[in-house]
Symmetry: C2
C-alpha cells in the first residue's frame, strides 16, 4: 500500500473526514452567472398557479374559481389546439412502420418511407447527422428558396432542438474571443424581450445592451436608437451582435420592410452580427402587414451586403404546428466562411443530434401536403381553422384589454402574445414593496389568486422604468378567452379601487 | 432626423461602411474555448468515412470494398438492431391517438392513455414540466427504488434530452463560483474518457485533472491515484468534482463494489462531488461481474455519507432500447439542499423541457411490460435476443482482436466498446508525423481507406503517452462483426509489414 493509501485508511484521516464533509455544491459556491439567471415564464407566478391547480384537483373549495387559465406560455396544444393530422400520422408511422399500406393516406406512407430511407438502419431511433437529416434540410432549403427568393446551401442549415438551443449555441460564439483586438463583447437585445436572451447572456457572463422598443409607436424598433446606443457604449464595449425578434415576443409587433432595411444597414455599417429570431414568422394576424424574413430583405440589398453575416431561427413549437413537446426547429447561417462553419458543425457534433421527432415535425412544417395530395383537404381545413381563430383571438385580446380603464394594449400583429400596459395605483406599488415584490408581480399574483388567470409579470421581460405590464398569450380557445378577459376586467377594476 | 440619423445617411458614412465590412464572427475572433474543443467520435475519420460512403453510393469502384462498416459510434439501430416493439407501439399511439382499441395490445393502449392523461391538453406536443412529466418520473422512482434499495424523491429526478445535456448543465454549476474561498476549480476525468467530458470542460474553460485507468489491470480505477492527484494539484486547484464512467466508455470495464466504496470514501473525505455516468448500466456482459449503481453502494454506507452529493445519469440511447434519436434520459441528484435544487430547476426551466418522445422512451425503459402483461412475451424475447447477442459480440471482439499479433484488448465487461492497444511501427509513426497526423489517426485512416472499417483513433479519448489505441463498437451484427474482424486483422498485418 502506498503512503497515501495508508494515510487515508488511518483512523485519524477518516476521522477528520467524517467531521468535516462540506457539500461541494451549494448556492453560495455555485456558478455566479447561473445564480443570476432569471426566467419568469416559468417563475414565481406560474409556480403558484401549479400549486393552486394541484389544490383544486384535490378538491379544494378555497378559491373563487374552479380552474386555472394558463396564459403564461405559448403552448397551443396545452390550450386545446388539435395537432395537424398529417404530421402526427407521419410521425406515428415512422415510430411503428409495421403497418399495412392504407392505414393512413398514401402521402403519409410515402413521406414516412422517405424519412425512414434517410435514417441509418431505417430507424428514427438512430442518431442522424448532427445538423439533422439531409432529407429534411433539403425540405427546408426548398421552403426558404421559395420564401426568400434565392437558393440556400444545405450545409448552412442546421436542424436544432428548438430555437432556444440553437440561439444559445450561437450567442456563445461571441463570448471569450481572442481578446487581442477587442473590447468587451456586448449583445444588443430588445426591451421588452423574451427572457431566453437575458437568461442566456447572464449565464454566459455577456454584457447586454438593452434597446427599448417604443410602446407609444406600437413597439416600434428605432434604428436611430441603435446607433445612439452603439455610440454611447463604444469606448467600453464592442457590439458584436444585434438580436431582433420579429414578430415580437412579448410585444407582438411586425417590422416593416423599411425598418428591416435600416436594421440591415446598421449592422452592415458597424460590423454587427444579426440574430433574427423569426419563430413567429407564420403567426401574423394583421392582413395589411406582411411579415418578411430578414433573409428576404437581405437578398434585395446591394453589393455591400455580399459578406453580410446573420443567423435566422425557426421553430416547430410555434406557427400552425405548435408542437412544443417535440423540440424541433432550424437555423440558417449566412456569411459564414468555411472554417467558421466547420467550427459550428464541430460544436453541434458534441450535441450529437436534435431529436428525430422534432426533425420530422420540421419536414411536415416546411413541406406540408400540397393541393392535389390526398392529405391536402384535411390539412388545409385544419390549418385555416387554427390561423383564422388566432386572428380572431388576437383581436379579442386587444379590444377587450383596451376597453378596461387603466389598461392599454398595442395591436397583436403577430406572435401569440399581448403585452398590455397596466396602471398600478401608488398604494398598490407600496404594498408590493412591503412584500418585497415588484408591483407587476404583485398584480399578477393577486390576479391569479382572485381569478385563476395565470399571466407573467412584465418585469420578467424587462420594461421601461416606471411602467408595468404583463404578458398574456392569446391562446385560450375563444370562449375561454372571453371568460378570461371578463376575469381580468373585473379584477383590474376591483384591484384599482382597493388601492385608490 | 437626429444627428446620428443624418450622419448614417450621409454618403461619407455609408461609403466608409461599404468599404469596411468585417464579418463580426470568424475563426480568429470566435470563442477561444469553443475553438479548442475536439470531438473525434464525429471527427476526421468518420467524416472521411461518410465521404467514401457517398462515393460508393454514387457507384465508385475505386475502393477495395463495397461498404463502410460504421463502428465509430454507439448507435445500435444504425447497426440493424430492431426497436423494442412495446416502446414503438406506445409512441406510435401517443403520436396519433385516434386509433381504435385493439390496434395494439391492451397494455400499449393503457400506457399511451396514461401518458396522454398526464400531458397538458392530452397532447405530447405540449410542453411538459421542465423536469419532465411527473408520471414518467414516478416510473423512474419506482425503478430506482427497486434497483438501489431506497425510496427516491420525485423532485430530485430530472428527465433530460440525453445524458449529455444533463451532464453539461451539471458541470457548468462548478464553474465561475463565488471566488472568495476557492482556488481554481478542477474536475477529475478518467483517461481514456468519453470526449463529451474533455469537450465540455474545454468549452467551459474548466481545468481538467486526468486520472489514468490502468490498462494492465483491465482499466482499473486506482483510488490511490486519485488521492495522489488531488494532493499534487491542491495548491493551485480545488478539485470539485470526480467523473466516473461505469461501465467504462471507451474502456468497457465494470467497477467492483469495493472499488466503488473506495471512490465514495475519496469523495466524502475530500468534499468532491461524484458525477456518475451510468448510461451503460444495463450493458453488462460478464456474468461474474454485477454492475452496481453508485447510489446502491452509497445507500449501504455509514452516517458520514448522509449529506453526500452526487448526480447519476442514464440514457435511453443505450441499454436494450438503443433509441439514440429520441434524446431521452434521466438524472438523479443526491444531497442537494432545497435552495440548490431550486437553482437547478430554474436553469432547466430556461431549457423548456426535454422532448416528449425521449420522455416516453424513458417510461418504456424503466417500466417495461411485466410477466403476465399482453406485451411481455414479445418484449422478453426481443430484449433477450439483443442482450444475448451483445454478450456474444463482446467476446468475438475481444478474442479476435487479441488473436492479432500487435493488438491486445481487455475484456469488454460492459458498455458497447473495445479500446484495444495497437503496436504501431516506428516507421509508421514517422510517416504519420510527416502528414501532421497522430499515429493512431493515421492508422485509423489507413484502415478506413483499405478496408472500409470506420473506428475512432485513441487520441480522441486521450490515452497514456506513447500508447496507441482505437475505439470500436461491438455493435455490427454478428456476421458483419466477424467480417470486420477479418478486415482489421488483414489490415493490421499488412500495415505492420509495410512499415517494418
Amino acid at each position: 500500500m502506498s503512503f497515501l493509501g495508508a494515510l487515508r485508511k488511518s483512523p485519524l484521516f477518516s476521522g477528520l473526514g467524517r467531521r468535516s464533509y462540506t457539500p461541494p455544491l451549494s448556492v453560495s459556491s455555485m456558478n455566479r452567472n447561473m445564480l443570476g439567471v432569471q426566467y419568469e415564464v416559468r417563475g414565481v407566478v406560474p409556480q403558484q398557479a401549479r400549486r393552486i391547480q394541484a389544490e383544486l384537483q384535490n378538491g379544494s373549495t378555497e378559491y373563487p374559481f374552479k380552474d386555472i387559465i394558463f396564459a403564461n406560455i405559448g403552448d397551443m396544444h396545452a390550450m386545446g389546439q388539435t395537432p395537424i393530422t398529417f404530421a402526427r400520422q407521419v410521425l406515428s408511422l415512422c415510430m411503428f412502420p409495421d403497418q399495412p399500406d392504407g392505414t393512413f393516406p398514401p402521402d403519409v406512407h410515402e413521406r414516412a418511407k422517405n424519412i425512414l430511407d434517410a435514417c441509418s438502419g431505417r430507424s428514427i431511433g438512430s442518431y442522424t447527422d448532427s445538423a439533422g437529416l439531409a432529407l429534411v434540410r433539403q425540405d427546408v432549403c426548398n421552403y426558404l428558396e421559395k420564401r426568400d427568393g434565392r437558393p440556400v446551401d444545405l450545409n448552412r442549415l442546421f436542424l436544432i432542438a428548438g430555437a432556444s438551443q440553437g440561439i444559445r449555441v450561437l450567442l456563445q460564439f461571441f463570448m471569450n474571443g481572442s481578446g487581442q483586438h477587442r473590447k468587451k463583447p456586448a449583445i444588443m437585445v430588445p426591451v421588452p424581450q423574451y427572457p431566453l436572451y437575458s437568461a442566456t447572456l447572464t449565464e454566459l457572463g455577456a454584457h447586454r445592451i438593452d434597446y427599448y422598443l417604443d410602446e407609444s409607436l406600437g413597439w416600434k424598433l428605432s434604428v436611430d436608437n441603435l446607433y445612439r446606443l452603439l455610440e454611447e457604449n463604444k469606448d467600453e464595449y464592442e457590439t458584436l451582435c444585434l438580436v431582433v425578434i420579429n414578430p415580437g415576443n412579448p410585444t407582438g409587433q411586425v417590422l416593416t420592410k423599411d425598418n428591416m432595411k435600416d436594421v440591415l444597414h446598421f449592422c452592415q455599417k458597424n460590423n454587427v452580427f444579426l440574430l433574427a429570431d423569426e419563430v413567429y414568422q407564420d403567426n401574423v394576424y394583421n392582413s395589411d402587414r406582411r411579415c418578411y424574413s430578414f433573409k428576404t430583405i437581405l437578398n434585395s440589398m446591394g453589393d455591400e451586403f455580399k459578406d453580410f453575416q446573420m443567423a435566422a431561427f425557426d421553430s416547430t413549437s410555434k406557427g400552425f404546428l405548435g408542437e412544443c413537446g417535440f423540440r424541433g426547429g432550424f437555423m440558417e447561417v449566412v456569411g459564414f466562411e468555411d472554417d467558421l462553419l466547420a467550427q459550428l458543425r464541430k460544436i453541434m457534433n458534441t450535441k450529437l443530434c436534435p431529436g428525430t421527432t422534432g426533425q420530422i415535425a420540421v419536414s411536415c412544417e416546411v413541406n406540408p401536403p400540397k393541393e392535389g395530395d390526398p392529405s391536402y383537404a384535411v390539412f388545409k381545413q385544419e390549418k385555416d381553422t387554427i390561423m383564422n381563430s388566432l386572428v380572431l383571438r388576437a383581436e379579442i385580446v386587444r379590444s377587450r384589454l383596451n376597453a378596461v380603464e387603466g389598461i392599454s394594449c398595442n395591436p397583436v400583429e403577430g406572435a401569440m402574445y399581448a403585452f398590455p400596459n397596466i396602471t398600478i395605483p401608488p398604494k398598490a406599488i407600496k404594498e408590493a414593496e412591503s412584500r418585497d415584490l415588484s408591483a407587476d408581480t404583485f398584480y399578477c399574483l393577486e390576479l391569479l389568486n382572485e381569478t385563476g388567470v395565470c399571466v407573467v409579470p412584465g418585469c420578467g421581460f424587462n420594461q421601461a422604468p416606471g411602467t408595468y405590464h404583463f404578458r398574456t398569450t392569446i391562446l385560450p380557445p375563444e370562449d375561454l378567452l372571453t371568460d378570461m378577459m371578463d376575469r381580468i376586467e373585473r379584477f383590474h377594476n376591483s384591484f384599482t379601487q382597493r388601492y385608490s
